[in-house]
């Protein structure tokens, strides 16, 4: 041994978990949904997935280059954003929609606000809403080779009948990744087992949404209606993969419960009273915007000041 040793502040050991590993596990968890979407909807879905992921990653790389910053694409968060955006696109959308969306999500929603960890809104959802407003007809056209006609929720809203079994499996019209409840829950279980996400937000979201439906939909305890509402639209994808986005959800435990309830109520309002059959994206975005407020009122009490039991 020679010379002086390295010193640093405690602790001198670190856990093995890294940001990169977390992102990778989210990507893996999204694979069942992605594969199901591609198999269900065909080649164009695959093109859209590749286009959003590639454009998102490339946009982040270019942005870092232009700003003369070290590239951050290695953390894989751009891949997650791209993938989530693709899962929120209609399967028949043209490729350039995917590219515009990917670039918007990364550059406008994420990088301009300071990059990973600084964005106040889920980038994929921000981009989806941007596309929905800018290209409404494309974004709401769910006709494709496999299915024609409206999404089950739209049918339901018009008073039509839907097959809940098909909805749970995912054999219905909809965006690439929102249709299969089975595939989404499978991926979510993987993340829950790994401890990457927990049930606090998805659980309170779903439960409060169901309670809202029972109270305000005018249909009461209609099992068929409730299960169709749970399986349909982006609720499952939103609850497990987008509402749980670390950056844009409250960091405090209590805040996460409040956030989940808020999302459930907002989604209920949009779906029951709104003009559109959907409402998950907007509910989560509004929820994202309220996070600073939620955190302010739910800042935890410290140990020895009443917080020891939490």
């Amino acid at each position: 041994m020679s010379g002086l040793m390295k010193v640093s502040s405690n602790p001198h050991i670190r856990a093995a978990i890294t940001t990169n590993k977390i992102m990778l596990s989210v990507i893996i968890a999204l694979l069942p949904t992605t594969i199901f979407g591609v198999v269900n909807f065909g080649t164009n879905a695959l093109i859209l997935v590749l286009a959003t992921v590639a454009s998102a990653v490339l946009a982040e790389w270019c942005f870092c280059k232009i700003c003369k910053k070290k590239s951050t694409i290695g953390d894989l968060s751009a891949v997650v954003t791209g993938l989530l955006l693709a899962l929120n696109l209609p399967p028949s959308a043209p490729w350039w929609i995917a590219v515009i969306g990917g670039v918007f999500a990364i550059v406008v929603v994420k990088m301009l606000f300071g990059g990973l960890g600084q964005n106040f809104m889920n980038p994929a959802l921000g981009a989806r809403c941007f596309l929905l407003i800018s290209f409404t007809s494309i974004m709401t056209n769910f006709d494709c080779d496999a299915y024609t006609g409206a999404t089950p929720l739209a049918v339901l809203k018009e008073g039509g009948a839907v097959n809940v079994y098909d909805m749970v499996i995912g054999k219905t019209a909809g965006t690439i990744g929102e249709t299969s409840m089975v595939a989404i829950v499978l991926g979510a279980c993987f993340l829950i087992i790994l401890g990457v996400i927990d049930l606090r937000i998805p659980g309170t979201y779903i439960v409060s949404f169901v309670i809202f439906l029972v109270l305000f939909s005018g249909k009461g305890l209609d099992f068929h209606y409730i299960s169709a509402n749970l399986a349909g639209g982006g609720l499952m994808l939103g609850a497990f993969f987008m509402a749980t986005d670390y950056v844009t959800r409250p960091i405090t435990k209590k805040g996460q419960y409040v956030f989940g309830i808020l999302l459930g109520v907002l989604t209920g309002i949009f779906r029951v009273f709104g003009a559109s059959a959907e409402g998950v994206s907007y509910a989560i975005i509004i929820g994202n915007l309220l996070v600073p407020l939620i955190e302010k009122i739910t800042y935890p009490k410290a140990f020895g000041r009443g917080g020891e039991k939490s």
Partner: protein, 441 residues
């Protein structure tokens, strides 16, 4: 009111105790000079009462306590005082120290006649502990006689021995409990003699079932002392968490354990109390675990205070691999040291030599708000937010966000997937705030 045997938050790091836990405590005889820093405790530095050229004996007082919150220092070898000059200590500062040249004779002073505990008055017990220079040997170094003299001794309900040893790699307390459980219990009885209404608690983590069994057997006819098997989790041995887990009482950073009717002492400290009260022997030794994957033969040593760290490494067979980092203490709360040429002090529990330096291997990246630091924080604060406030140097916001409630246990930095130095940021901020508060007084 019973504790839940655990607390919320905490982590389960690799514990590394297997490499040294079965190695019996071995005595180490110092070869080189012994260095006694005059500040080995919290409070005023001790004042030297010897001068250069004086001959000293084992157990001879060489420095007097510098006040009530202070502790005297004793020679641990016989020999000649070589110098009184600043020497480097573990934390990197130069501290005024007495240097004694060891003559290898180990000639002891006469410690006087011993008497059983029952024949001591309370004042005598405290006086003996104070005179013996006993301080908190878990790491803080707070003078023990001060801890044992709360304002209202009748309101103390529990005297707790911190047998958790929750820091990874450390096995010195474990060896003590296995080899000398009678001394641990004896030392606790000495402290219990001071508090008429108190019960004794031996708080042991449940990863040491052999210690728990041994204590229970020795205490089967004793109704004033109970053994609590706490859940194994870091930082179970942090004072506030330990009190909560064993009694259900919670204190914050503005309170002392005595505010919750508790007194907490570490295993080694309790053994030192035993020596002070029942054997009239001052604090001269401590148990040090020399361990880590860079050490050839990891061991537990009974070390004379003042012994150079180099000698401990040699005793443990030297390095089998080049160490990347050397820590005095455990990996979670110990001090990284840049030079081994420092003395063993009253508060040194371990010398940990790691071949891999996790800290320099990890590059901090952006906080992704994952909340893992919040999940593991035993102080129930929000470390990531405190880190951000600390970056801005905003002391007011730091205090408003409960920053002062941090116990610097290191869980947040450990768990952070973005490898952010949260503990460091919060620690420096706390230091600055405490500094301001001192100035205002």
């Amino acid at each position: 009111m019973a504790g839940k045997l655990t607390f919320s938050g905490g982590i389960h790091p690799y514990d590394g105790k297997d490499i040294s836990k079965d190695k019996p405590i071995k005595d180490v005889l110092p070869k080189g000079d012994l260095v006694y820093p005059l500040s080995q405790h919290i409070g005023a530095p001790a004042t030297p009462i010897v001068k250069k050229g004086d001959r000293v004996l084992v157990g001879q007082k060489i420095a007097e306590a510098g006040g009530f919150v202070s502790a005297p220092i004793y020679a641990t070898v016989s020999g000649t005082v070589k110098a009184i000059e600043p020497r480097r200590v573990v934390v990197g500062d130069n501290v005024n120290s007495i240097i004694v040249e060891n003559d290898g004779q180990y000639e002891e002073v006469d410690f006087g006649p011993c008497k059983p505990l029952e024949q001591h008055t309370k004042e005598e017990i405290i006086k003996k502990i104070q005179e013996a220079g006993v301080v908190g040997m878990g790491g803080a170094g707070f003078p023990t006689h001060v801890k044992l003299s709360p304002k209202e001794p009748d309101k103390i309900d529990y005297v707790i021995v911190n047998c958790a040893e929750c820091e990874p790699y450390l096995t010195s307390d474990y060896r003590r409990m296995i080899e000398e459980p009678e001394r641990v219990i004896g030392g606790l009885k000495c402290s219990l003699a001071l508090f008429d209404n108190a019960k004794g608690i031996l708080a042991v983590e449940d990863n040491k079932p052999d210690c728990i069994a041994k204590f229970k057997e020795l205490l089967k006819d004793e109704d004033r002392i109970m053994v609590k098997a706490l859940k194994t989790k870091y930082p179970q041995g942090a004072e506030r968490q330990l009190i909560y887990a064993s009694t259900g009482r919670a204190i914050n950073s503005d309170m002392l354990p005595s505010d919750a009717g508790c007194v907490v002492n570490n295993v080694d400290t309790v053994c030192a109390i035993y020596g002070a009260v029942l054997e009239n022997r001052p604090l001269m030794y401590r148990i040090v675990t020399v361990t880590g994957d860079a050490i050839a033969d990891p061991r537990n040593f009974r070390v004379r205070i003042g012994t150079n760290y180099h000698e401990l490494i040699e005793e443990a067979g030297g390095f089998k691999q080049e160490p990347a980092k050397i820590v005095s203490g455990g990996p979670m709360m110990g001090f990284g040291i840049f030079d081994l040429d420092v003395p063993t002090t009253k508060t040194a529990s371990a010398l940990l030599c790691l071949t891999k330096d996790d800290v320099s291997a990890c590059e901090p990246s952006a906080c992704i708000n994952c909340g893992m630091c919040v999940e593991v924080c035993p102080g129930r604060v929000v470390p990531s937010r405190l880190g951000k406030v600390a970056e801005r140097g905003d002391k007011e916001a730091f205090v408003a966000m409960n920053g002062m409630e941090c116990c610097e246990c290191g869980c947040c930095s450990f768990i952070c997937p973005a490898k952010r130095p949260l503990t460091q940021q919060i620690k420096s901020m706390r230091k600055m705030v405490l500094e301001d508060r001192r100035k205002k007084k």
